[in-house]
Symmetry: C2
Subunit: 162 residues, 2 copies
């Protein structure tokens, strides 16, 4: 990937907070909206933190099968050619975080730093934090600019300034 | 559903053209961006028309398993509370349309009326139209405004002015 594609991918992920989450429901796909924050932990690659209701379908699906797919898109707000909008699909493993997990406070802080208005939802007992750990990614930056990345390559793009 | 929720769902689907498509890849979910147009056929409910490359993963997935999930979201462009953004998940059956299918010309016309800039892609031999036929939907119009709809209920909401 060229420097400009790396910058575009990093900007796509770091400037947005809305994503489409794909889960599997008894073999069938299901896509729902989630809000995310990027989390950096010492000794681990970047991960996506989401906060979801135990009453919702996607939470039930993730508990049954932790394989998820996260899509972040440049939103279409009257694009001249919407086919050229940048987007990235990140295949992840979803891990629920119990409130007594040693990594829970930092994950909660990462989420609320990015999404401070969502703090009230931590008062609902049925909400849970999940950490989505990237396994691979597919970035489409525009026409003829498609790239497959390993988790390490994604971490490297997200973690550097060039 | 109240009149205002019906109007919000109709507006969400009819004013956007960008969606997240969920497919299944050997049991795992995969989400990618697609552009869509709403199609109305005499004697059938509304459907979503997409135009996809045979070289892309989602096309391969749909050919192996026609169950798909389509998410249309109100885009987050600095929303005060992004959790309140309206979104709808539509569970569909994907049907590839051969160019000699009697319904192909009308589907192509519906797509290009909505997405005229995409006409050049019809010159690529590996692109195919798919019709996504709704089976059910889940609409979240905001806090405490979630509704499950059958395909008939969705058709009724999309097809009426109230």
């Amino acid at each position: 990937m060229q420097t400009e594609d790396r910058a575009a991918l990093r900007e796509l992920i770091t400037t947005h907070r809305q994503a489409a989450l794909g889960t599997v429901d008894d073999g069938a796909p299901f896509v729902s909206m989630v809000l995310y924050a990027l989390e950096w932990r010492a000794g681990a690659g970047p991960a996506f933190i989401i906060h979801v209701s135990g009453l919702s379908a996607h939470t039930r699906h993730m508990r049954a099968d932790p394989r998820v797919s996260l899509l972040v898109m440049q939103p279409d707000v009257g694009a001249d050619d919407p086919q050229a909008l940048a987007r990235v699909t990140i295949q992840c493993q979803a891990v629920p975080l119990a409130t007594d997990d040693p990594t829970y406070p930092a994950a909660r802080a990462a989420y609320l730093t990015r999404l401070p208005r969502q703090e009230y939802l931590f008062g609902f007992p049925d909400f849970t934090l999940f950490r989505l750990e990237p396994r691979s990614a597919r970035f489409i930056g525009g026409f003829a600019r498609a790239f497959s990345l390993t988790a390490d390559q994604l971490a490297e793009v997200l973690g550097t300034g060039s």
